[in-house]
């Protein structure tokens, strides 16, 4: 086996891992947006999920407990957003921004005592034979459980949205909340549940970063991944399968940038670090320029305030 091919295996595996937090957060946000709510607080929910997951894992010694805590913390933040936007009818854009600003501060506060503490890595899958396969073995059969969970969430979300009655109702609420309300569906309750799900998924994505990907806690550990996840939902034109594609693309860009740095190619590392953000902008432009496609696929009530009496 040539040296290039030997390098390909670890790169592929790293790409899948780098895509995982984006996949969690973007799938969660996709369900939220399908219900007609725009939550710009993904970055804040990821950070709080990351720090709470890390803190609980350090205290209990169990990374499973950490992931559960991360999801719960993300959902808790999302509940705050839900109360403000759905019950108190606050502007969704402003509240989402507030959630991110609050999450940045809160996570830094909680994380005070946890900076620089090492934590045991989450064990990876090992299937004798399969994991040892060249090139694809490590990528497909040597990851840890969360990577597989994120992958499994893609068909699960698709199935829920397009093959179940509840999914149909959720989409109806997102397309036309007044009509759904007139049919007797509980618009606010359905949206609240969607928002909670989105928060839990963001929290999981954050916990994956601090417990598994890095693994450690540092202030602002998500470094814009929550925002990239928001862009991914648009890139995917609100389709779960395309979220996967987008997440892999960004995982690829992230890893490629690290490897170029590692190969000693003479480009300053700070300039290479811009790549994921620039790629997000470019991808967003390519998708958004097709106005008709966005209009066809975006939930029609996205971001609009609903009050049953109005």
């Amino acid at each position: 086996m040539s040296a290039e091919l030997a390098l390909l295996g670890p790169i592929l595996a790293a790409m899948l891992a780098a895509a995982t937090p984006l996949l969690f957060a973007a799938l969660g946000e996709l369900v939220v947006e399908k219900s007609g709510v725009l939550n710009l607080g993904v970055e804040g929910m990821m950070l709080v999920g990351a720090v709470c997951g890390f803190a609980v894992a350090v205290q209990t010694g169990s990374s499973t407990a950490g992931f559960v805590a991360g999801a719960a913390a993300g959902a808790g933040m999302a509940a705050l957003f839900g109360v403000l936007t759905l019950l108190l009818l606050a502007n969704q854009v402003a509240t989402g921004l507030a959630l991110t600003l609050f999450g940045v501060g809160l996570s830094a506060l909680i994380g005070q005592g946890f900076v620089g503490i090492p934590i045991a890595d989450v064990p990876e899958l090992y299937i004798p034979g399969l994991t040892d396969l060249p090139v694809i073995g490590k990528a497909l059969f040597g990851q840890d459980a969360l990577v597989y969970l994120a992958l499994a969430a893609v068909p699960a979300v698709h199935w829920f949205l397009y093959a179940t009655r509840k999914g149909l109702i959720l989409r109806a609420v997102g397309e036309n909340h007044a009509a759904a309300h007139a049919l007797g569906y509980k618009v606010i309750r359905i949206r609240f549940l969607a928002v909670l799900f989105g928060g839990a998924m963001s929290g999981m994505g954050g916990a994956f970063l601090s417990l598994d990907y890095t693994p450690m806690w540092a202030e602002g550990i998500s470094s814009g991944r929550g925002w990239i996840a928001l862009a991914l939902v648009v890139f995917a034109t609100w389709k779960p399968g395309r979220v996967l594609l987008g997440a892999w693309l960004f995982g690829g860009v992230t890893i490629a940038q690290l490897h170029v740095q590692g190969l000693g190619i003479d480009i300053p590392s700070q300039l290479l670090s811009m790549l994921p953000y620039l790629a997000t902008v470019i991808v967003l432009v390519v998708i958004s320029r097709d106005v008709a496609r966005i209009r066809l696929n975006a939930p029609a009530s996205l971001g609009k305030v609903f009050h049953p009496d109005a």
């Binding site: 710009l40 705050l80 109360v83 403000l84 108190l88 009818l89 606050a90 502007n91 854009v93 402003a94 509240t95 921004l97 507030a98 959630l99 600003l101 609050f102 999450g103 940045v104 501060g105 809160l106 830094a108 506060l109 005070q112 202030e219 470094s223 814009g224 925002w227 990239i228 928001l230 862009a231 648009v234 300053p268 700070q270 300039l271 670090s273 811009m274 953000y277 620039l278 997000t280 902008v281 967003l284 432009v285 958004s288 320029r289 106005v291 966005i294 009050h307 009496d309 109005a310």
Partner: protein, 363 residues
């Protein structure tokens, strides 16, 4: 059956427009009291150290103005955009670019400056910020790309660009590899306004921006167009208002003001280029804009309040060993409470189920 419900008011309550920011501040202080108590600090002492002690000296008041300056400059521009539903959240990056371009001139003409250098830096700073904001404007107008996401992504790009420059071209040649530039020379530094403080010419610019922002919104046709587009985009379309022009204008304007804020930092209190120009002024300015009700005068007051949260955080860190991150928590809480209480502008709270009220009226 709900015990508490919202009943639409006939029209927005003027009184509540002014009352809810005060209510939000009161609720934030109450929550801060509980938070300090839960963290094991004496809440009264902590709140005093945070919000009152910093204001007890001329130096402290000066610092308040120094910190309020970039916040107000950024928020005035952001608010004008928000009024037109143009969500520029890239003020942090635009501020950074203003520092890079304006501060870059100070380094380029090091040792050969003159009276002309400072005005040139100011123009360059504003141009740098406007240029950075022109990117989301172009992408929105030409390609329909959300300015929220593009302007935010550019914040990270700007930060990495600054980092690159500080480790490369901008680094002090005699600085032992520290990522800091030379100290700016006297003709590249904004003059001080009040002896014994660090209040500089930038604060005057901020006041001018408040006045100009008020004039633009209240007395010009462009301000009227901005308001109509923000309230009812369809009406603006029928009236033939050019929405693309307004997107360009609001983004360029807010970019230029943020750039000026960035230049004011490096040519003011910092006095050199370094990798940490802003503790998040561009993000906090979003809160300032909302807290100030997107109105220039409100923004001025809100700017001072948020400036207090920055210096209060520093003071409490030194006096009581409170973690610095408290500042961000306070800022976030304040915005939450404001958004939550804003419901009272258009709705009243009613207790008891709707049916019961109707029944009583009939009886």
């Amino acid at each position: 059956m709900t015990l508490l419900r919202l009943e639409a008011r006939g029209e927005a309550s003027r009184a509540m427009v002014y009352a809810t920011p005060l209510l939000a501040v009161a609720l934030t202080l109450a929550s801060g009291f509980l938070l300090f108590w839960a963290m094991g600090f004496d809440p009264v002492k902590a709140l005093h150290a945070f919000f009152i002690a910093p204001l007890m000296s001329l130096r402290g008041l000066g610092e308040l103005a120094v910190k309020a300056t970039p916040l107000v400059l950024c928020a005035i521009g952001l608010a004008i955009g928000f009024r037109a539903n143009v969500w520029n959240i890239g003020a942090e990056g635009q501020l950074t670019l203003g520092a890079i371009t304006g501060g870059g001139l100070a380094l380029a003409f090091y040792g050969e400056g003159g009276w002309w250098l400072l005005p040139l830096m100011i123009v360059a700073g504003m141009a740098g910020g406007a240029l950075w904001a022109a990117i989301p404007a172009f992408l929105r107008v030409r390609f329909n790309a959300s300015e929220i996401l593009t302007s935010l992504m550019l914040n990270y790009v700007a930060l990495h660009l600054l980092n690159y420059l500080m480790h490369g071209p901008y680094r002090d040649p005699d600085g032992f590899a520290f990522p800091e530039s030379r100290l700016f020379e006297a003709d590249a530094v904004l003059p001080l306004l009040v002896a014994g403080t660090r209040v500089h010419l930038g604060s005057l610019f901020a006041l001018l921006a408040v006045a100009a922002g008020w004039f633009l919104m209240a007395r010009t046709f462009i301000g009227f167009q901005i308001k109509v587009i923000g309230l009812t985009p369809t009406a603006a379309g029928y009236a033939g208002f050019n929405q693309k022009k307004i997107i360009w204008m609001t983004l360029l304007l807010s970019g230029a003001l943020a750039g000026l804020a960035g230049l004011g930092e490096v040519a003011g209190p910092i006095g050199q280029m370094n990798p940490t120009i802003s503790p998040g002024y561009g993000y906090t300015a979003i809160i300032v804009a909302f807290l100030g009700r997107l109105h220039p005068v409100g923004i001025l007051l809100a700017g001072f309040l948020m400036a207090l949260s920055f210096i209060g955080g520093e003071a409490a860190q030194i006096a009581l060993g409170l973690p610095k991150a408290i500042t961000g928590v306070f800022q976030g809480m304040l915005l939450f409470f404001l958004l939550a209480t804003d419901v009272l502008i258009r709705y009243r709270l009613r207790f008891g189920a709707k049916r019961a009220v109707v029944g009583r009226a009939a009886a």
